[in-house]
Symmetry: C2
Subunit: 204 residues, 2 copies
DNA sequence: TTTTGGTTACACAGACCTGTGTAATTAGTC
DNA sequence: GACTAATTACACAGGTCTGTGTAACCAAAA
């Protein structure tokens, strides 16, 4: 049943270790020597698989860029579920903020490559929210998606400095208010009629 | 009229330059040599005023910890004004996120001193929101203040990677919805009566 | 067996960093 | 002028980092 022990390629082993160290301790704080030592390989081998540390950093971020899995739960549940999984991640002791935001903060405004992938990631999250909102028939899906993204990133930043998983719950409560205000039924309180209220979901 | 040219002390000159370089290019990216060279002083002089780079970093962050000036505008206006000034700062080309969040991201979870001042700063902003909300008679000032802080930090993080001042406007719109939902009149739409609505401000 | 490809150990270049030591210099004050 | 305090120039120790060069090694394929 379980697939064979997955003969992990050397490249993947390097990436996996780089990911752990870069993310937990910072890209600038970790040297290639440290990564090689952690795996138990020589630095030469590492450089045989990645031409430079920059290339390794880029590969690290690209590997972090996982797209959301499709789900058949109702869209509103999916949206709010985001905040639940955020809370779970905040509670894990190996959470240290958003790797993309951290990379931009660490590497500075000069590193175009890093910024580019960070933008792409943030945008993909926003689009995901927007699609769920459109499914719900929300009129101003675009604007609301942006606001939800702000709550996500805000809670991540707050948790990064405060180590407080409650930030995810606070974000979820705020998200509920915003959704309800847009005419989405999120349980617990009646949707209030509003000028910007969405029509009933007519999609497909 | 204008005060005399302000005979800036050497310490202040160092701090000012360190601030500019640390904030714009990153703490790890800037060496003490660079700071000294930028001012045109010797590295020795810098070390005569600060015992170590760590001390300089701490002083830099403490100097960034400016407390909000008291205002006599109505509290709701003050709260929303936060997002306006955020938008102005986003539009400036020398904005590069929150120095405290950046420092925590750069220096990692080990640096207790940096984390401590970052927490203190974030908390002071939350308290400021809470006080304004209490003045408005909002019942759940505590929870709402946290949510507003999420919007602030979220828009900062988003602008950091996207360079989009519109993030501040989006945060402001979300804040309006949250305030309105708590019974605060923010103009443009009637406050909706709610279970959690605040009583009329009875404070002092 | 011979060949081939990935790997290892290890030294090293070149850069940059923090922090110190020292003697000379400047500027202000008594 | 003489004394004092800050500043300067400059070398340097000791550390870290990225990236390369090289010869030996090992295992599997031909």
């Amino acid at each position: 049943m379980a697939p064979p022990p997955a003969p992990q390629t050397m490249k993947e082993r390097i990436l996996e270790t780089a990911d752990k160290l870069f993310y937990l301790q910072g890209i600038r704080a970790i040297g290639v020597d440290t990564i090689a030592a952690e795996i138990g390989i020589s630095k030469r081998t590492l450089y045989n698989h990645f031409p430079s540390k920059d290339a390794l950093i880029a590969a690290y971020l690209e590997r972090r860029f996982v797209h959301a899995r499709p789900s058949d739960k109702p869209p509103a549940e999916q949206i709010l579920g985001t905040f639940d999984s955020l809370e779970r991640r905040f509670s894990a002791k190996d959470f240290r903020g958003c790797p993309f935001v951290n990379a931009v903060a660490e590497l500075g405004p000069t590193d175009r490559a890093v910024k580019k992938i960070a933008i792409a990631f943030k945008e993909s999250r926003r689009v995901w929210f927007r699609e769920r909102l459109t499914e719900l028939g929300v009129a101003e899906a675009e604007a609301l998606a942006t606001q939800l993204v702000l709550l996500v990133d805000g809670s991540i930043a707050q948790d990064l400095v405060r180590d407080d998983p409650a930030m995810a719950r606070a974000a979820k409560e705020a998200a509920k208010v915003l959704l309800r205000n847009a005419g989405v039924d999120v349980g617990g309180g009646a949707a209030k009629p509003t000028a910007t209220r969405g029509k009933r979901a007519p999609q497909q």
